[in-house]
Each structure stands twice: as structure tokens, then as C-alpha cells.
Symmetry: C2
Subunit: 134 residues, 2 copies
């Protein structure tokens, strides 16, 4: 783990969190530009992500830190963390191991509106039963 500098700690404190103490984080594959997923982070998950280099979110459904890949093996390695002009949204440039989506697809945005109709536009790459063996 890297010790965060005073400037980085001040950066985290300067972010705009919502009333639940959360900020949305977009994960993008650093080399291909593919948008993989959107999830939420809190101060602790941002701190751990920057210190450890592995992406950690906050799970709203479980109300707990979500070290992505702990159950599925599909970790995200942090390449760079960015914030937007309003300091209320993060962009994580990552290297995704395997697939980002719990459905076994590479990214979570696999339903599109085309020709005025919702359709699935991405294939399952890994059988979800192989991702979560319990």
C-alpha cells in the first residue's frame, strides 16, 4: 500500500459526496476506451483504491466495501483516477481482468435502443455460474 500524500488526501476531502457520502465512479478500460460499468465510492473506498491500486467500490445493496473481484476473480487494476469539473463524479481508467459485468459480459451496458427497439448488443463471454462458485 502507498501512503497517500497530503495533496491527495486534500483532493479526496474536496470531492462532492451525496447525502449518503457517495460519489459515482465510471470505470473505463484504459487502452480500448470501453466504458465497463458505473458504481459508487465513498472516502474509504477511494483511499483504499489509490493506496492499493486495486479498485474498491461501496456496495449500496450490501452497505459494505466492495473489493471488486473478491468473489468473481474479475478484478480491476487502477491505471489512473480522474475527477470532473464539479468534483462530483470520478472516472477510473482501469485494466479489467476478464469481465466487468456479473452477467459474464465484458461491460454492463449491453442493452441498446436501435431502430426504436431495445435489444441486447453484447454476448456473454464467461458463464456466470463460473464467476460465482460460492
Amino acid at each position: 500500500m502507498t501512503d497517500l500524500s497530503a495533496a491527495t488526501k486534500a483532493f479526496i476531502e474536496g470531492l462532492t459526496f451525496d447525502t449518503d457520502g457517495l460519489i459515482p465512479a465510471i470505470a473505463q478500460q484504459h487502452d480500448s476506451g470501453e466504458v465497463l460499468m458505473m458504481a459508487w465510492m465513498n472516502r474509504q473506498s477511494i483511499t483504499e483504491t489509490l493506496a492499493g491500486g486495486r479498485v474498491v467500490y461501496w456496495s449500496r445493496s450490501r452497505q459494505a466495501l466492495w473489493r471488486k473481484g473478491d468473489s468473481s476473480g474479475q478484478e480491476q487494476r487502477l491505471i489512473e483516477l480522474r475527477v470532473d469539473c464539479d468534483r462530483d463524479c470520478l472516472l477510473l481508467l482501469v485494466d479489467q481482468i476478464g469481465v466487468a459485468c456479473h452477467t459474464g459480459r465484458r461491460n454492463c451496458f449491453f442493452t441498446a435502443i436501435r431502430d426504436n427497439n431495445p435489444i441486447v448488443v453484447a454476448d456473454v463471454i464467461i458463464d456466470p455460474s463460473q464467476l460465482y462458485k460460492g
Copy 2:
């Protein structure tokens, strides 16, 4: 304006909105993959975006529809709208006219943590005073 099909209307009704009736939307330049910005949409803005082909958000600060580009000229043309596996986040593939950010930068995510230090990593392309002439 295109009349939305019953399937597309059902798709909109099936989205997961937060308690304010909003859903986050990530705008990505369709050809380069650049993540431009994140903003919020409600049912009406999604309907208008899909029907008209020009991206319309909901401004939380102004509590009004935000037809992006109305004041700045920097419109976003919708190429494709996608939703994620949980149906609680949208990905908009767009063609951005000019710059997405009110600071005059191409995208809003221009502050990065590098070498344990926050720094600005993108240049201003258009002087903001030229974007908002009142």
C-alpha cells in the same frame, strides 16, 4: 421528432430512477471512446432525447430540462442510448459539437491523480467567455 414505439416507452418505464426521479447518464464520444461528462436524466429528458436525437439532460441545480448547447452552442447529437445490467445507469454514445465542459475543455474529467498528486491534464480549447456570451 420520432414517435417512440411501445417497446421503447416500456423500456423507459422499466428504468430504475432514484427518489428524485433521476438516472445518471454517461456521455461518451461515439468514435474516439472519450468519456465526455456525466449528468442526470429524467423520463421526460430521455423521451425527448430519443425522439429528437439531440441530448437533453435534467439540470439538478436549475431544476429544469437542460437541452445541452442551448446557451453554449455545444450540442450533443445522440448516436445510441444504452442501459446497464441493473437498469440504473445510461450510456449515451454521442457526437459532441465543440467541447463538452463549461470550462472550455473537450471533456469534464481533466483533473487526475498522478504520482500521488492532483494535476490538470487537459487544456482549455475554447475560452469560456466565448461559450457563454449571455
